[in-house]
């Protein structure tokens, strides 16, 4: 309910309209009422035809059997899903694992930078923001290829990691093999983390920047240590950024096949690689469609559970 009475002038509004009765809605002419629908029509139609309809087609494709020569036919062949999962579950699990690891790494790496830009950068703020966005302007494929140089066997980075015995630890964890980094899980996760890091930093920065600085002062006045201030004030208020950053990193990372292809080996293939090769090389459309549906379902379930637990449904 909106308060219409202004204090100091009691009864001023009461005389014109009986209290409690809302003003009768003015009926707009039909033509005006149709305006939003005309505005929506082209865009929504585009999405219905080129986004929703393809999903339906994909569902039907996943239930087809046949071959490229003989033609495909919808036979409601559900076992395709089981067979696809039985054959490609390693790639499936790997995708979710790599994407999850990359997301956690993005959060750990991105938070300090977002914090730095939001609270400590001063007049360097714009420069730092530009530097975060700037890599976007070089094609991401070119940048991913650059990691091949950075992580090559005889590169300085790998040499340093080896000298610091980091590779012993990662090798023991099964992330690297011997003194190699390229073509190992570590290289793929490193590429994924790198590629999606800006998608974590920007939402984090947006939510951190909105925090009222006086809250920090208040916490300090109440003798909170910097760590407590962060734990009780800053971090909870940045949660919307954490949630949207996590989603913006995890969802695309789970379907990515570029990093696994360029930086990995056959041992690091993700479900995206399988879908791509089944669709474009093997031409086994039903299996590819089934896998793509399974990926979508897995991501939707993961995201729904996560949003429920994070308790911020009104984010989007």
């Amino acid at each position: 309910m909106t308060v219409t009475e202004t204090p100091g002038t009691p009864g001023a509004t009461g005389s014109s309209a009986a209290p409690g009765t809302p003003p009768a809605p003015r009926r707009r002419p039909v033509r005006r009422r149709l305006v939003p629908y005309w505005l929506l029509l082209p865009g929504v139609l585009w999405l219905l035809v080129f986004f929703v309809l393809p999903m339906v087609y994909q569902a039907s494709t996943s239930l087809q059997t046949g071959s490229l020569e003989a033609g495909f036919e919808v036979t409601w062949h559900f076992p395709t899903y089981w067979e696809a999962l039985r054959e490609y579950w390693p790639q499936f699990v790997r995708s979710l694992l790599y994407a999850g690891t990359a997301t956690v790494l993005c959060l750990l790496l991105g938070y300090p930078l977002a914090y730095l830009i939001a609270f400590r950068a001063g007049r360097w703020r714009t420069v730092l923001l530009v530097l975060v966005i700037a890599p976007f302007f070089t094609s991401f494929l070119i940048r991913t290829l650059a990691w091949k140089t950075i992580l090559a066997d005889d590169s300085a980075v790998v040499g340093a990691l080896d000298a610091l015995h980091v590779l012993d630890v990662t090798g023991w964890l099964g992330w690297t093999e011997g003194d190699r980094v390229l073509a190992t899980p570590l290289a793929v996760v490193c590429g994924l983390t790198y590629n999606f890091l800006p998608f974590m930093i920007l939402p984090l920065y947006t939510s951190l920047e909105r925090i009222d600085g006086r809250l920090h002062e208040a916490a300090k006045d109440l003798y909170a240590s910097p760590a407590t201030t962060f734990r009780k004030v800053t971090f909870p208020l940045s949660l919307p950024g954490v949630v949207s950053g996590t989603l913006l990193t995890f969802i695309p990372a789970s379907g990515d096949y570029v990093n696994a292809e360029l930086l990995g080996s056959t041992e690091t293939k993700m479900v995206g690689n399988v879908i791509q090769s089944q669709f474009l090389r093997v031409l086994d459309y039903p299996t590819a469609a089934a896998l793509s549906f399974l990926l979508m379902a897995a991501v939707l379930v993961a995201v729904t559970v996560y949003i429920r637990r994070a308790g911020t449904e009104d984010l989007v």
Binding site: V35, P36, Y37, L39, L40, G43, V44, W46, L47, F50, F51, P54, M55, Y57, Q58, L109, G110, P112, L113, A114, Y115, L116, R120, T126, V130, V132, I133, A134, P135, F137, T138, S139, L141, I142, R143, T144, L145, A146, K148, T149, I150, A152, Y194, L197, P198, I201, L247, I251, G255, D256, Y257, G272, Q276, F279, A289, S292, F293, L295, M296, V299
Partner: protein
Amino acid sequence: MRRLREKLVPLAGLLTLAYLLLPNVVVTVFSFNDPVGRFNYSWQEFSTAAWRDPCGVADLCGSLALSLQLAAWATLGATVLGTMIAFALVRYRFRARGAVNSLIFLPMSMPEVVMAASLLTLFLNMGAELGFLTVLIAHVMFCLSFVVVAVKARVLSMDPRLEEAARDLYAGPVQTFLRVTLPIAAPGIAAGALLAFALSFDDFIITNFNAGSTVTFPMFVWGSAQRGTPVQINVIGTAMFVIAVLLVVAGQFLAARRKRTEHLR
């Protein structure tokens, strides 16, 4: 010890920034390389040959021109359609509002392969010939949502009283829209358009599925990863980076100057 702890967060932040920029440094340095063999992965010798002849590789500049053209059309389509949707969503109350909101949100909450693959099944089933047109359709589709979000944010923060004021001053609906609403919404529309351009220009996954034998710039780079990467790719990557940073700096400079002169007036 206290001082060290205070410096810890900035240090970690700057390390992350270094991680973000390291590949760009490598791309730039290797654009001056004179590689032996087909691949440009190890440093050999300083050379400016690639910079003097950026189009010296077959199909490279053709693919670049195609990508620019594609991105321009996709931006136009997505911006027009997206702006219309954004205005409808913010300015009007109507029945299907929730459904439209979810329809906008869905393409952004789905792995790109899923969208790419499903679109391919549609085109295969329709017997459509894969090429420029199918890629353009796909790009408009996935850029649309991002434009809607960008424009919506701007329109939401607009003060509706400005439009009321215009109407009180006897401006017609068209006049109000053109002289008040559109200029205020312009930064949001521009941001959406820029985002659409960048997304379309750099898109690989959806293009990979729906391009057929059409080769956009990202497709060229992808192919070169298998066949051999010419140095010219690094040259173009570096040039794009430098041009974009210069544009951003120039924009900031102009904005700052305008602010100052407005203040003087």
